[in-house]
Amino acid sequence: MSTEILTLFKIIVSAAFVDNIILARYIGLCPYIGMSSSVANSIGMGMAVTFVMVLASIVTWILWNYIFVPLGLEYLRIMVFILVIATLVQLVEILLKKNVPNLYRAMGIYLPLITTNCAILAVTFLGVDYGYTLLQVVVYSISVALGFTVALVLLAGIRERLRMARVPQFWQGYPIVFVATCLLAIAFLGFKGLVK
């Protein structure tokens, strides 16, 4: 049992920090830059992505291992996985529009973009490729989503401070955000050797 927990712990640490889906694997950057203007927005986005990511990896794991592999339909993988994710995103859109309208308006174009959010698709793909068990997949997706939200909130905090900083005229707005992200990414490189 202890090795079981050890591997779970290793997954959590590596997925959330060492192999952070954004700052180490550089996946899922579109909403990352677009949505991190304010901490509140990024937490909202983080929750939405977590919801979709966890559910998507569970559903895709079940579909893949119990239906598609036995039937030998590997080539359908991309389409079916994205179909599941898109359905969940549409679900999120319906729920948000009803219950949290201002977050819905704040997300705007970035809500449908969760569908093609490379991070979620990558999680579903890796969850299958690594041959995780269902429990490991759930833990993996939760920790990746955690890593995503942490990175998002981190940048949102920085960006809110940046608004007060004296930034040269042409560097205001997105350019300075990219420079900040670059420094953040280099900082996260430090985690590289943590988990063998």
């Binding site: 389409m79 079916v80 319906i94 219950n99």
Partner: protein, 274 residues
């Protein structure tokens, strides 16, 4: 055979997800007034705020509930107003389309410049200095506040004269520049051929002549020469009434300082330099 299996399988998935989504959509349906959506689709969607409401969706709600008049959106223009009145079932009457025009010709080489200004490049800021850097207290400072505020980039500073020029094709008459100009030189006029006095100064003839070559010195030559009596001198300024004026152009020739200009259909001030 292995065409059938995937098709049926994915089809079933599609059906299941479709049912789930539409059921959720129905259960969590946000009660949206369809009329508001239709009204919003007619509105231009520039969210410029000229109507005074928070963006087009704000205005759409007010129009649908009848609190705002159908022509509250100047940008939409008559085409949108007619469409809106059809949507709301009101009778469609004609409304006047307005455009902005610059009532000042005190550009480079015309108006006297009393100081070399290197402060904040905005008319509002320059206007705070008593008398600012121009001889004329009413003249255009040309620092482009109106250019920046215009959501439709219809105004640009003419490099030769240093004065703003309004392009009536792009101008939607939203009035944001009129509100922005600290010296009230930009005004909204109906969009048709007309003659107007291109000066808003109240100063006496002696000061005007000293400060600007094309300023109105209130000599009232135009009042006497106008065959229709369309021009009058009211509380300190020359006013040309659009109803009576027949665009004969007599006043333009007679005016000693060429202060009266012809405002055309397309671009306002450009005609003058010709």
């Amino acid at each position: 055979m292995n065409i059938l299996i995937p098709t049926v399988l994915v089809g079933a998935l599609g059906l299941a997800f479709g049912l789930m989504l539409s059921w959720f959509a129905k259960k969590f349906a946000v009660p949206v007034n369809p009329l508001v959506q239709e009204v919003e689709r007619v509105l231009p969607g520039a969210n410029c705020g000229a109507c005074g409401f928070p963006g087009c969706s704000g205005l759409a709600e007010k129009i649908a509930s009848g609190e705002a008049p159908v022509n509250a959106c100047p940008v939409g223009g008559p085409k949108a107003w007619a469409e809106l009145s059809r949507l709301l079932g009101q009778e469609s009457s004609s409304w006047e389309v307005k455009r902005a025009v610059v009532l000042c010709q005190g550009g480079k080489g015309v108006a006297q410049v009393t100081a070399e200004y290197s402060g904040v490049a905005s008319c509002k800021a320059a206007n705070l200095l008593p008398g600012s850097f121009k001889g004329c207290r009413f003249g255009c400072l040309g620092l482009g506040d109106c250019v920046r505020v215009c959501p439709f980039s219809a105004i640009h500073i003419d490099p030769e004269s240093g004065l703003p020029v309004v392009n009536w094709e792009k101008c939607t008459g939203c009035g944001k520049c009129v509100a922005e100009c600290p010296r009230k030189i930009l005004v909204l006029v109906p969009r048709k051929e007309q003659v107007t006095v291109a000066c808003v100064s109240f100063d006496s003839a002696r000061e005007v002549r000293k400060a600007c070559a094309k300023g109105c010195i209130k000599c009232q030559v135009c009042v006497r020469t106008c065959p229709e009596g369309a021009i009058t001198f009211e509380n300190g300024r020359i006013v040309i009434s659009r109803e009576k004026c027949t665009l004969c152009g007599l006043c333009i020739e007679k005016c000693p300082t060429h202060c009266i200009i012809r405002v055309g259909k397309t671009a306002a001030l450009l005609e003058v330099r010709g």
